[in-house]
């Protein structure tokens, strides 16, 4: 019972019927269960949006913070207690729009966290504005002439930043999503999983059918360690490849580089600075 991730009580879920978020929630719970992760050691962080409500719907710890700011607390939590499994989970707008700077610098920092992005190519919670990943030409209440920008390509950017784990899945394939989430959580270092997620209310273009039609699974023999090949995959446009697109195992990991875990791996909350040592430091500044 302890690792069910289910609540004892009935939890009201604020998503629309048919929303792709349900699948992601299910896949995540399954992945964590199959990895036998103790929920008591799992922390989810999120921003604000429909996707960002996910942590509220599974029984684990969470830090549901500000729009666009899921990544910085996630990295700090990991740095403060590396024994925790930390997952930052938010929407495309949250992660790539408002939170874009943390996305790129979070990749560089490479804390051992998993970053799940519900990519519905729209701002769901605020009722259908374009997100960075919205298809060119989509009309919205604000983009009355349609968007004109090339959609943000998180996979290509992550590869360009030499991220340590870059994957994409389609929630239309729940099992694959679950498998890749498992790999991402197991991966040591920052792991991006961009999940294609239909928003059945506000995105009439990128539907379940559309995602199915516009994706394919990378072949078994695809080598995710080849950065150049990964870049080629990341800029394919007709159909988006699914799977682990790029991977590097050898990058320094944020929390390991802080120095505080060189001598022991106890979380910071268990430690106290030595009083005498502080007095000693003060004494260094004495005149005598």
């Amino acid at each position: 019972m302890s690792n069910t991730y289910e609540f004892d009580h009935k939890q009201d879920i604020a998503w629309c019927p048919g929303c792709g978020n349900f699948g992601i929630l299910a896949a995540l719970k399954m992945a964590l269960r199959e990895l036998e992760k103790d929920p008591q050691q799992v922390v989810l962080t999120s921003g604000i949006g429909q996707a960002a409500k996910t942590p509220q719907y599974l029984n684990a710890h969470y830090f549901n913070g500000l729009h666009g700011r899921a990544i910085p607390p996630a990295m700090a939590i990991k740095a403060s207690n590396p024994g925790l499994t930390v997952i930052a989970e938010s929407g495309d707008g949250d992660t790539y729009g408002e939170g874009g700077n943390h996305f790129i610098h979070g990749i560089r920092r490479n804390a051992d966290i998993t970053n799940i992005v519900h990519n519905n190519m729209i701002y769901g919670l605020t009722k259908g504005q374009a997100s960075p990943t919205t298809a060119e030409g989509m009309k919205t209440a604000i983009h009355i002439r349609g968007t004109f920008e090339e959609p943000f390509n998180p996979i290509a950017v992550a590869v360009a930043l030499d991220a340590s784990f870059v994957a994409r899945t389609n929630i239309g394939d729940l099992k694959q999503t679950k498998e890749i989430l498992k790999q991402a959580v197991m991966h040591r270092g920052y792991a991006l999983v961009d999940v294609f997620q239909p928003c059945v209310v506000f995105n009439k273009l990128n539907t379940y059918a559309w995602f199915k039609e516009h994706t394919y699974t990378l072949p078994e023999d695809y080598d995710p360690t080849d950065r150049q090949a990964a870049f080629a995959k990341s800029i394919e446009e007709e159909k988006f490849p699914l799977g682990v697109i790029y991977k590097r195992e050898d990058k320094p990991i944020f929390e390991e580089c802080l120095g505080v875990y060189d001598a022991n791996r106890d979380p910071l909350y268990t430690r106290y600075h030595n009083r005498e040592k502080i007095v000693e430091v003060l004494d260094r500044y004495k005149g005598e």
Binding site: N59, G65, A74, S80, V260, Y269, D283, G287
Partner: protein, 571 residues
């Protein structure tokens, strides 16, 4: 020619020069060594926002009477480049003794007689122009009748990393400068005869930066994420430096937003985090301050003020961000603002900030400014006890509710992974269990719960410091970094029936402050901004109108002269 000039009470020695000429080293060296020798030493520097060129200066003030403030007056000026800027030039009086290099010329020389000393030649002889600063420092030390080897330890410490040769050359340069000073002292009778006291040696010579840094560590700080910004970077540096000796995670964030959101993550996971920034950087943190308010997270923020708005005067001083710090963040929630005046305050209040933040689960601000950051001053160890700190988080049980309604109004703070409960924090309005809600009843209960802590904090308010008679009729009130200068001017003026009140906990104000201002027949507030922000706050908090406001907003700290005059004029 000097001819028998003696300083027996108080001397203000100023070095002026370009960025990159090593004025900071002179200050550090003179202050450290004079302090070691038992002189009461205060120093502060002012500098421009550039890395080379421009005109910077440092004032080293040595006194018998514990003068801990900036004076306009310059007793002895050492211009390193003689391109003394308008500002410094304005401080030169007919009493100022100017001691400059022989080969230099420039404005400072035009207007006034200048005593010439072959500093540059001596520096060149010691290995080059870069030794100019230590040559001059050696010169000054001689005037205090300090031995020519007094600087040796300092130099070993300072330059040891660069190799023995460098240390040796510096020692030589100091000795040569010392010899020049000794010559002037003996031959021209330039004497500085100030008291040396053992109890001065027993004080701890710190600048504001290190006071805050050490206070943070004493408060249990084990996490800092910040983004560099003058004049707050010194605390970031200071804590990074201390991380050699203590377990502290130090991270330079990509921006201020990341910094504070990391800080909140760290507190959530049980660490004790601080953020150091200045007004402009803090402006980017307002949303996360509001988040701290909502999720009832502890947070400690050090804000070193500089003159705004916007980029303003990046390396100068002002107390212009109080209103902003007081109200930053949308919505309503309690916070605490502490503002150190002395070095002891810096250590004590920062330590306390962690305790208050943790205990009451609120953001606590330590509000300083460039002047405070850069002043060096001796502090008494017994006035800043390092206490074992308490961590207030609890081990959770299965029924744990992060926002539980309790009889004492505080919901015990759990952290993930410690205990059997789940710790759920939410930036939306939430139920006791941390889950999102849109219930109006819960809303009211949660607002009330959050706000109630303000009065609890007020009850434990850090006392203000009253200087002067208890039965005052006029009360001169100041806060933060103006302590030293206000005290000196106040004591200089000796107005009967007048007292000086230094506020250390700026918000919420304690009952003592209410009581003090309540019985004053005249309240005067002194602050380093244009609108009188604290004066307004005092009125709001106590209902008492402020009768006079003494303000300054030119980017410089108050001088003893200016405040003395203002106090005289109060009539």
């Amino acid at each position: 020619m000097v001819k028998n000039k003696t300083f027996a009470e108080d001397v203000s020695i100023v070095f002026g020069g370009e960025a990159g000429q090593g004025i900071a080293t002179i200050e550090q060296m003179c202050a450290t060594i004079l302090h070691k020798e038992g002189f009461h030493t205060f120093s502060v520097s002012e500098y421009m926002s550039r890395v080379r060129g421009g005109s910077n200066s440092t004032e080293i003030r040595v006194s018998n009477g514990k003068k801990n403030a900036f004076v306009e007056r310059i007793d002895i000026l050492f211009p390193l480049d003689c391109a003394v800027s308008g500002h410094l030039a304005g401080r030169i009086s007919s009493d100022t003794l100017i001691i400059a290099d022989e080969t230099q010329s420039g404005k400072c020389a035009e207007a006034r007689e200048v005593v010439r000393v072959p500093f540059l030649e001596t520096a060149e002889a010691s290995g080059g122009k870069i030794y100019l600063n230590v040559v001059m420092a050696g010169f000054v030390l001689a005037l205090f009748e300090v031995s020519d080897s007094a600087a040796d330890d300092f130099l070993k410490n300072k330059f040891g990393r660069k190799g023995e040769e460098v240390v040796k050359q510096n020692m030589e340069a100091v000795r040569k400068g010392w010899a020049l000073g000794e010559k002037m002292r003996k031959e021209q009778g330039l004497q500085i005869v100030l008291e040396r006291r053992d109890q001065e040696k027993s004080t701890v010579l710190l600048n504001g930066e290190m006071a805050i840094s050490i206070g943070a560590v004493a408060g249990g700080c084990d996490f800092i994420a910040s983004y560099p910004m003058s004049p707050s970077t010194g605390v970031f540096n200071g804590i990074a430096e201390l991380s050699r000796d203590f377990d502290i995670a130090v991270e330079q964030a990509e921006d201020e937003i990341a910094a504070i959101n990391m800080g909140l993550g760290a507190w959530y996971a049980g660490a004790r985090a601080i953020i150091s920034t200045s007004g402009g950087g803090f402006a980017l943190m307002a949303e996360a301050v509001s988040l701290a308010g909502m999720i009832e997270s502890p947070m400690v923020l050090h804000i070193a003020q500089r003159p705004g708005p916007a980029t303003g005067l990046p390396t100068q001083t002002e107390q212009g961000d109080l209103n902003f710090v007081l109200h930053a963040g949308h919505g309503e929630f309690p916070r605490v603002i502490l503002a150190p005046g002395t070095i002891e305050d810096g250590v004590v209040l920062t330590q306390r900030a962690f305790d208050l933040a943790d205990k009451f689960q609120v953001p606590v601000f330590v509000l300083t400014d460039q002047f405070y950051m850069d002043m060096h001053l001796g502090a008494q160890s017994d006035m800043m006890p390092i206490e074992k700190y308490q961590k207030y988080f609890v081990e959770t049980d299965e029924q744990y509710l992060r926002y539980k309604y309790t009889s004492d109004g505080l919901s015990p703070r759990g952290i993930p992974g410690f205990g059997k409960g789940f710790v759920c924090v939410d930036s939306d309005e939430h139920e006791e269990n941390g889950h999102i809600t849109e219930s109006h009843e819960t809303r009211v209960q949660m607002v009330d719960k959050r706000m109630a802590r303000l009065e609890m904090i007020r009850e434990e308010a850090i006392l203000a410091e009253l200087v002067g008679p208890q039965d005052f009729s006029t009360l001169i009130v100041g806060w933060g970094s103006t302590y030293g200068v206000m005290r000196e001017a106040f004591e200089a003026v000796e107005k009967p029936g007048t007292a000086f009140l230094h506020i250390k906990q700026v918000y919420p104000l304690g009952a003592d402050v209410l009581e003090y201002v309540g019985r004053a027949s005249r309240v005067v507030v002194v602050e380093n901004n244009i609108t009188g922000q604290f004066a307004d706050l005092l009125t709001k908090e106590t209902g008492r109108k402020v009768d006079d406001r003494i303000v300054q907003y030119d980017g410089t700290p108050f001088s003893v002269e200016k405040l003395t005059e203002e106090f005289e004029n109060l009539g």
